[in-house]
Subunit: 286 residues, 4 copies
């Protein structure tokens, strides 16, 4: 079985050149690290090399504090952008909802059951309806109503709260408000679940639109949020078959199962530091 | 096992009212027909009743020639639109291609193996490249080049040939030309395969667009052709997963398998008279 | 949209003969019923005709009490076995669990959200662990420990409690005990979820066995329980892809999502009276 | 786009130890090789490290002839078993069939279209039926009838022919004869397609058995052939949904599409040297 010993993970992207696999592996090995996962991808269109390396901290010569500066110095010569994570440092996420509870409940269950290594200290909603779930799970519920007029000041409040709770990632779990570029500019780690196979049926009422078009499959898409609505880097997508017997109500019901699964898979991949974003694309090291 | 005795099939649509299932079943039963498949659907949004009934001709009191007039008279009172088919009358289809052979070969194999009950006397192409396949299968190959300037006269020629060969259905098996409304107006039974999960990526270069968008699934859609490009009634759709490792060439390669399967399923459903079109939607009686 | 008016549903099976579709439709129509769903299947191997008919009670000439005796008399001549259901009479189900909560929680959520039209008054378990969930949902939790020695008397107690709570259906939602033929003989409506694509990996430790065999897909199967372990009529099956990276722990984790979905779909189909069992097979009228 | 320059690929397995990723990458890098794919897997149950490394030959300091001896010497100290492949050396495969043509035709099409980098000089069959396909594609067709009595001498003949044609891989594309351990002992590179999701429905008549069991999905499995019937290391599996409407004939028809796809995927993965077998398992480096 896989060990549960703490690990460090590096996500690295840089211009492609000969020897990168060897160099990065050597950085770990020369410090007595035992690599348990290494994967990489070269995007030949952009000339980018992207890699994920995970190694056990046990026996590693560098202390946690020393790793980042050492890798910064080491990787400067090949122009790398990189992130460093430790497996025993649980990310803190805030789940945002409106009135629908299925994705929220699903994420909370997975967290409680230990499937996700995560802390969920904060739920934010533009409606008060789902507070009872927060209470059940002992999580703070912050009700911040949004209108056309108050959005910018409410977003300021949201940002303040995220900072106060030291949130690493916001998960929009059926949060029915558009996030403004201003917000995204200040807090960029946001995953959204959209109820269609993007790029089809962008925006509101995706199931109604799918029904109108007479499609034979419906889908769901988890993606990072960017300034362009439903156009950010896609993490995960899936579909199910429907038939002429399914009206809009049936699509919504069937879609809920998809939304839960696709969002959960995306969040899990993010929490395991398996996703590298470049341009408007993701590399998902599964 | 299912019997191979010849059957008749009625596809009927009419305004919904009480008793339609009973009335239509009685029409068959009162003439000593043995129903082997009956399915129906009510579209509550449009108030339409749609049904498919298939019965064995063996022992049926009415002769083949008498059925249509009898049903016309019988169904006049509930305003039905209907079509009648006999299972031992093989439809005649014309397959249209450009330069890619995979869908053509797949359809011809299925025809030759007996999976499709169909005659394929005619292949039409705007290129000469695939004539060797027509020769292999002993099918006439009609090369009709299309340019911007000659399209209307070439379509006139195509219509003439379809009539000469008594074609019931045209299958666009990677035919890379838009069919004009004028043509469709004169010959409406056309199935197309599009290389995306519609309505995403309409028009040309769907795989290139899919790659650019960074999707994690690609799809294919079989639909009837209407005046609006890639917007006709959808018959069948399917998808496969892709990853960051797949470049455009990989998408094209993986997509071929999808295109073949989705088109074959749609053509088979059509040949079995299982599809009822209403508005821009299909009911597929599986 | 579909109406929410109450309906009656007949599930009928009988030896195949000419005219059955017409006769049964006439029974409804002659009593002024509006059929909203009718589907049938003929099994040519066994010579059985199987059908599901659903019609609106509004305007139906027969009262609810009169329908069963009338249909009994009507159908006697063609030797039908049949069941009658009313859509506004909620079935009462008892969910049985051991220590794993995922299927239980999923079923309870779907019930609470209105996806299932059902009452869940009773949870039975051979362990006390999941009582807290019963408490959260306000459901009685009956802890009945099972050992080799006490099984027959404990089953007697279980049967008594089912009777007391007037339970229509038992759902084994990861209940890790074999039900004896004696129990099944007295209470036959039992749905189980098995953690493999049956008939592969019967019995305990299915994920361990799947890992040992090196399969590339894992599955789940919902079936009715019969005397033969994991060999009853199958209602629903689904699978997901796995890879060499997945160890047994990963299979268990991925399998949970499958188990939840497959069991939920099966229970929903049962609650909608869409399943007819004959021999060791099911007809599922979707 | 990916380059089409020739590459070398190493498949390596050895006892796990620290530094293997670095060491192997260094072997390539120190000889001026540009790695374009490197993936590895550690099986913690068996303590095995398994890896695939592919690099461009252009600019590599070692000549093709020098690579194997150099790597042999280099890897001796960590007890590696390994194989070396060159991308521009096309494997030679022999396809074996009985009477069904669908898998054969599918493989030949993919070869001809360039999807597979392969030579197919030889088809072997225990029946004469499919010779016409061999003729169409200009491939030698060797008819070797098998009876209970002549199997051992016929296998001797088969082995001789494989040697004469310098065959690297045998693909059993619906070859309905069991290969004996004696044969496998002398020629071990054999891929088979089995018409079920193994380990369910081992041996003959898998669709008949699937129908009898009343399953709701059918599958296909591609695996390497070992002494135990249908029990070798699994490469690829897939399934499709079926319903009560599908009789055995329908399962066979639907299954053909699965068999073609699953076998083609497995052969392609093998031809790309992406599969490492250890014990009764495969690692598939996708």
């Amino acid at each position: 079985m896989k060990s549960d010993l703490p690990t460090a993970t590096l996500l690295v992207s840089c211009p492609d050149q000969k020897g990168l696999v060897a160099k990065i592996a050597n950085f770990i090995y020369s410090n007595d690290g035992n690599i348990i996962h290494a994967d990489q991808h070269t995007d030949f269109n952009t000339g980018l090399f992207l890699t994920r390396v995970e190694w056990q901290l046990d026996g590693f010569v560098l202390s946690r504090e020393e790793i980042a500066p050492a890798f910064a110095q080491f990787s400067a010569c090949f122009g790398a952008k990189w992130q460093l994570f430790f497996s025993d440092r649980k990310p803190r996420i805030s789940i945002w909802v409106s009135k629908q509870e299925h994705c929220l409940l699903d994420l909370l269950w997975r967290s409680r059951s230990g499937e996700f290594a995560v802390d969920v200290p904060l739920i934010i909603s533009n409606h008060p309806d789902l507070k009872y779930i927060a209470d059940q799970f002992g999580i703070d519920y912050c009700h911040i109503p949004i209108t056309k007029d108050n959005k910018s000041q409410q977003e300021a409040q949201q940002l303040e709260i995220l900072q106060k709770y030291q949130i690493d990632l916001v998960v929009l779990a059926k949060y029915m408000q558009v996030i403004t570029p201003n917000f995204i500019n200040q807090f960029g780690e946001i995953i959204n679940i959209h109820h269609s196979f993007l790029p089809a049926f962008v925006g509101a009422n995706a199931y109604q639109k799918a029904y109108q078009r007479g499609v034979k499959i419906i889908g769901a898409t988890a993606h990072y949020v960017t300034d362009d609505l439903d156009a950010g880097p896609i993490i995960e997508q899936d579909i199910i078959n429907i038939s002429h017997r399914d009206d809009v109500k049936d699509l919504i019901c069937k879609g809920k199962d998809l939304e839960k699964l696709v969002l959960a898979r995306a969040v899990k991949l993010h929490l395991q530091n398996r996703i590298l974003v470049y341009g408007n694309r993701t590399v998902v090291f599964k």
